[in-house]
Assembly symmetry: C2
Homo-oligomer: 470 residues x 2
């Protein structure tokens, strides 16, 4: 039966979506019902009660719980009343915080997050902070980095009054001149903090004020990678040297680099790859200079590269200090090491802190990925796809070049941007939706269920498109 939208429940809607139906069918069914109302609060324990405290302890292993009031039983909560997990019925005169996973999480939240997000936590990370979208995930990851960096500088000292007062008017020392080092061609989102680390297309950045933060070159490798080992190693060494120079230079400028952010494959910027060796060395440079190492897996995470996280291809036990995600994990967030946990509640916070219904869906997605061995499937399809692209670029050398990829996360370059755009439109009219990235790349981001026979079907149509173009 449809969860009818009786008026008392309006603002419980978000939580109740967790376990009930909602949406289009409800519309027909929505009609006034006999209103039910409890006749007042009813208390069995002080708040938070023992069950809430137990759940806080459990969730405390994963997140900062300082802002949590208590855990809710949303099934029993009605109208102006919240029922908590200790059976207390509490009168709500402050509805604004009701949607918040950070203040009033549902009882099953610690279990659900353990089953879903924590079951795929990157190596070395036991904590995860949920967020609504990719940009918020990176914004808050940067904030966690800045807070960690300043606390490290401060040692055991508490913030001075001068810091507290100047922070209120955006001035140092309260708002320090720290920076995040990012890479030319990188993409980390479009809100103002993220945008200061995004350098893929001018149209994303034009006219928006930014921060004076260092931008390092990302290696421009030659493909196929194994045919240009020496040249590529030289290019990577050049970029790493520049990274260290920039860290030193920005420290001298009084804007120390608190963190380095990088994608395992620069996606929006044109599917630019680098070797595991490059990332291992970069991670060491971050460690050496006391910068947090933030791997942005918003685009690469979720299995498209044939491993759940693209950074697993580097083969490291300690790949990063922070790993952010969104999109294919159905909602956003970031994993982090213990020491990047802010020392106080409300320093990393917002109203919703993610969406618990999305974590439920994620559990199911992960079950399917495991049951159907989809990562192996991706690896197999990815090989077929990349081999097909190699053949096509041999067949149409005046149109295509630089085929590259990991799993089905593949790309190939067109001769120029006009050619690329014509190919994309022609393919769309033949019923194949491709995407573009960088200046003149065609990108492939099929679903995890894109199997070998799908690859062949695609290659046939793509061949037709190219033959007609030629």
């Amino acid at each position: 039966s449809c969860h009818s939208l009786v008026v008392e429940d309006i603002f419980l809607q978000r939580e109740q979506n967790l376990g009930r139906e909602g949406g289009r069918e409800c519309k027909a069914a929505a009609k006034p019902q006999v209103e039910f109302d409890y006749d007042g609060p009813s208390m069995k324990t002080t708040v938070p009660g023992p069950r809430s405290k137990e759940l806080m302890k459990q969730l405390g292993q994963i997140q900062n719980t300082g802002a949590i009031n208590f855990f809710c039983n949303y099934e029993e909560s009605k109208g102006n009343y919240l029922v908590d997990v200790d059976g207390n019925r509490i009168y709500l005169c402050n509805h604004f915080s009701l949607d918040s996973l950070g203040i009033l999480p549902p009882e099953n939240f610690p279990d659900k997050i353990t089953e879903s997000l924590l079951s795929v936590a990157p190596s070395g990370m036991t904590r995860v902070q949920t967020m609504s979208c990719g940009a918020c995930s990176n914004e808050n990851a940067y904030k966690a980095i800045f807070i960690w960096y300043r606390n490290k500088e401060r040692g055991q000292n508490t913030p001075t009054n001068e810091e507290l007062n100047t922070s209120m008017i955006n001035q140092a020392p309260g708002c320090p001149e720290l920076s995040i080092l990012s890479f030319m061609g990188g993409f980390h989102g479009r809100t103002l903090g993220c945008l200061a680390t995004t350098h893929s297309k001018a149209i994303h950045k034009l006219d928006i004020p930014s921060f004076d933060w260092p931008v390092a070159p990302f290696p421009r490798l030659q493909y196929p990678l194994d045919e240009f080992t020496r040249e590529n190693a030289e290019e990577e060494a050049r970029c790493l040297e520049e990274v260290e120079d920039l860290i030193v230079k920005w420290r001298q400028k009084g804007k120390p680099v608190a963190g380095i952010v990088i994608e395992p494959i620069q996606a929006e910027g044109g599917d630019n790859h680098a070797s595991p060796d490059f990332f291992r060395r970069l991670r060491n440079i971050a460690r050496k200079h006391g910068c947090a190492f933030h791997v942005d897996e918003v685009q690469t995470g979720g299995g498209g590269t044939g491993k759940f996280w693209a950074h697993e291809h580097w083969g490291m036990d300690d790949p990063a200090d922070i790993v952010s995600f969104s999109k294919k994990l159905l909602s956003g967030g970031y994993y982090h090491k213990d020491e990047l946990q802010p020392d106080k509640p409300y320093r990393i916070f917002n109203t919703w802190m993610g969406d618990p219904s999305k974590n439920l869906f994620l559990s199911e997605v992960l079950n399917v990925i495991r049951r159907e061995n989809l990562l192996e499937e991706v690896t197999r399809s990815g090989k077929a796809l990349l081999n097909g692209l190699y053949e096509l670029q041999a067949q149409y050398p005046s149109i295509l070049s630089r085929a590259r990829g990991q799993g089905t996360f593949c790309a190939i370059d067109a001769f120029d941007d006009a050619t690329r755009d014509r190919i994309l439109l022609k393919a769309r009219d033949k019923g194949v939706l491709l995407g573009g990235c960088g200046d003149r790349s065609i990108r492939f981001r099929p679903a995890l269920v894109f199997k070998e026979y799908h690859v062949n079907l695609f290659l046939n149509i793509f061949n037709d498109v190219l033959a007609q173009h030629k």
Copy 2:
């Protein structure tokens, strides 16, 4: 029946939530099914076809549609295939954009947004941009302001190569030194752009790099407002003078004020009110100096003040250039005037651009608000609540003062922060969940269904808390 999570549909999940059930019950039902797969694309028209073009034209009245590929029929879409509204079956090699309202919206999106968000558009505004959360709403509203401001300065000219090139490395003139003027005590979110305009609590801002943007004083009025008319008018005049001084000063500094952002009632900062006259004059100052006027209704919108938008209390036909919202409207976004529409697609953009299922819920919430005359109800309850608070502060003058409010959006001050916090905890143990704001205020944010008898029930319990405290 439960929409079972067959693997082909994993990444269609977000859209399909629109019209189907999902969530907890699905878990039990999730099991491998006989997989259904179309045998290839099937095209009836070029893409976008005539129906997609028609819908683009319709949505074009409301939003920039430049990034839209086509409109989808998500009911018919399966596995690796999208079916569009013209009956074309399209093969998906680029899943990453699938969740996006900005690229592949469902057929009913223009209608749904007209029924929901546009049916409550503020006076003078015909366009709305959906977003996932409050912080993203404000970040993108600021970006729209910066883009509008620079386009105004540029006139008919296109951006120079220097602008395009410098924008890629965060430098002027591509990333210009523009600013947003905000108010001490204001709260507009916690991502880096928003945070530069937030000035309510140091703990939100400490250690996070910021922008050198002007911060004006917000009037500190005496309550009840009608007993201090003259004093309050003087205080408001002082603040408005300071606003103009700051605009001039920042222009001279080379960081012109592109926009002014303000809450109708400073909420997080301690429920600070100002008169309609103050807002009318401020709006005129913005107009005079060519700054966009952005009213942030993330906390005040949705009916709690007794009008759907708090700015309606100002009685203006042209209250603002941008109005942002989130929370009580179930997802985020902002309304704006035509001229604040960016000139190109992808300048304001992200993966999800909001959540269509939340807009469906909003339609129902709005229906209930209208059917049950909830705004009148709020006005009535609000009067009872404020009168009750006046009586309590007369009864407990050593504990309480400065009762104030509009609708049920009320607050009262405690003697100091320790007293406030003790009262909040004591009330919670008696089964009443209140909230705090500012240094020592207790805030009331009941649901729209908080009726007069709920007010009386609350006042009785609150009286017990205060009696015991005394």
